[in-house]
């Protein structure tokens, strides 16, 4: 069963081809990593998956809903987190989560907020304005917002950017547990190769808007004869791809 089916997805801005006829599917429960350098098309792809951006051509089906015709039905079952999109800084953490609880139609909002506060260790600053939090605390709050509706599909744009190693590890551990417990599908754009190796079941390597390679982290490591994903990333980014090993 597929959580995402993308076919010939293309986005063009004038003369710039940001995403060039990509195809992929994400099985339910998978964690798909979108990898690529700056301008490779990762954020554009995520924006199209979220319905924020209308594709130039191609189709996206999310959780059985065609995003061109029925995106709001899909949006209610998915969520998104990015360090580059803020929550209102003058509202407290609890108020922010309550706003999104209403927007996503969450039943028993207060109980859900308490649950997330306990799981993500937000209790100490639940009633503090979001703007007064540290980067690590903000990331955990953003994650709590992304999980408020128990999403079946979670899109994460660099979820551990600017986090210290300890907090980053905590977030990754939490994502692993959430996926195992909920069966949620995750799409992850990241520049952190260790994170990709740890979390992703499949990786799509993007370059200049095209998928230039794909496979599980282990497959890619074997195929490129490398010990870590960082080297695989550099091989692809610098066009020093090796011949696939038989």
């Amino acid at each position: 069963m597929e959580a995402i089916r993308v076919a010939q997805l293309t986005k063009r801005y004038g003369d710039v081809l940001a995403v060039d006829a990509i195809d992929f599917t994400a099985p339910v429960g998978a964690t798909i990593g979108l990898l690529g350098g700056n301008g490779a098309g990762k954020t554009t792809t995520i924006a199209m998956l979220l319905g924020l951006l209308v594709p130039t051509s191609g189709s996206i089906v999310v959780l059985g809903h065609d995003m061109a015709r029925d995106r709001f039905a899909a949006l209610a079952r998915m969520n998104f987190s990015s360090p580059y999109v803020s929550l209102p800084s003058r509202l407290t953490v609890a108020q922010n989560l309550r706003v999104y609880g209403h927007l996503y139609g969450v039943a028993g909002i207060d109980a859900r907020i308490d649950e997330l506060a306990a799981e993500l260790d937000l209790v100490d600053f639940l009633h503090r304005p979001a703007g007064q939090l540290s980067a690590g605390q903000k990331t955990r709050v953003a994650l709590a917002k992304a999980l408020i509706n128990r999403p079946e599909l979670l899109l994460l744009d660099e979820p551990t950017a600017s986090l210290d190693p300890d907090t980053g590890d905590m977030v990754r551990g939490w994502l692993e547990r959430y996926r195992a417990a909920s069966g949620c599908t995750i799409v992850l754009a990241s520049h952190n190769m260790a994170e990709v190796e740890r979390l992703c079941t499949d990786v799509l390597m993007l370059k200049k808007g095209r998928i230039v390679d794909r496979g599980s982290p282990n497959d890619l490591l074997t195929r490129y004869g490398r010990d870590d994903m960082e080297e695989v990333f550099l091989d692809i980014a610098r066009d020093r791809r090796r011949e696939p090993t038989p």
Binding site: F72, V85, L87, P88, L91, Q95, L103, Y104
Partner: protein, 266 residues
């Protein structure tokens, strides 16, 4: 329907929580209407003292005009600034990837516009009654229609401003404060449309506010309700609101094509 109501309430709650924690914001809502009311109220008092009964009637028209114009102004600013609050807090990305429909976004902005307008205007109306014995409600039940028409005009102007912000980003922000001041001379707030040069009168007559204020003066000066003006105001509001909704829908779709919903305001 219940889901839709919850989403609208969710966005309104976001703004109400902001006001709950900030008395300067609440004070700012009432500050300008009260200040305007004081200036025009003392002017009317002075004119009445110097020129007698005729000036008293004119003074009443001035105060009534000022208070009713504030309905349009505060409705428009309430809606536009609520949208800008989302833009300033870089929260639009989260909102637009939630199941909140664009129509629900507009409904929430309208809800906030009504609340902000009432917080701003009720103290000014009460103070006008206390300081100058000026009772706006003496206009009678017709006042409800005046209020409704002026509020609706505020909404479609605000929807136009929001559309321009979607199109041009933060460069269009100043319109949220200034656009109605540009329409004020044509809205016949303090003088009849006939005072305007002939060439400008069609512009005034295309605005619902001009018909409302002609109606208000008809009651205050002649004791007559001009239903033709009211019907014109209702018809024009329907036309302009439909045009503003189409413009908003188009600009929202264009913003989704351009990818502006994430980068807007940056």
């Amino acid at each position: 329907m219940r889901g839709s109501f919850r989403r609208v309430w969710g966005l309104m709650y976001r703004h109400l929580a902001l006001y709950k924690g900030s008395w300067p914001r609440l004070l700012e809502l009432a500050y300008w209407p009260i200040l305007n009311m004081c200036i025009w109220g003392f002017t009317a008092t002075f004119l009445t003292a110097r020129l007698g009964d005729t000036a008293a009637v004119a003074g009443g028209a001035l105060l009534g005009g000022m208070l009713l114009w504030e309905v349009t102004l505060r409705s428009q600013m309430g809606m536009s600034i609520s949208f800008l609050e989302e833009l300033w807090s870089r929260n639009l990305g989260h909102i637009f990837v939630s199941p909140l429909r664009p129509t629900e976004l507009v409904a929430a902005l309208i809800g906030m516009s009504v609340i902000r307008m009432l917080i701003g205007l009720v103290p000014a109306i009460l103070l006008a009654w206390y300081f100058y014995a000026y009772n706006l409600f003496a206009l009678g039940p017709i006042l409800i229609l005046f209020f409704a028409n002026l509020m609706i005009m505020g909404w479609w102007v605000a929807l136009g401003v929001v559309s321009l912000i979607l199109r041009h980003g933060s460069g269009a922000e100043p319109l949220a404060w200034g656009v109605l001041f540009g329409l004020a001379p044509f809205s016949a707030v303090f003088y009849p449309v006939s005072v305007l040069p002939t060439v400008l009168q069609p512009i005034a007559l295309a605005l619902p506010a001009a018909h409302v204020f002609e109606g208000m003066r008809g009651i205050l000066l002649d004791g007559v309700i001009h239903w033709d003006h009211l019907l014109a105001a209702i018809g024009l509001n329907a036309f302009w609101m439909a045009a503003a909704i189409l413009l908003f829908a188009r600009q929202f779709h264009q913003a989704r094509i351009r990818g502006a919903l994430l980068s807007i305001g940056e």
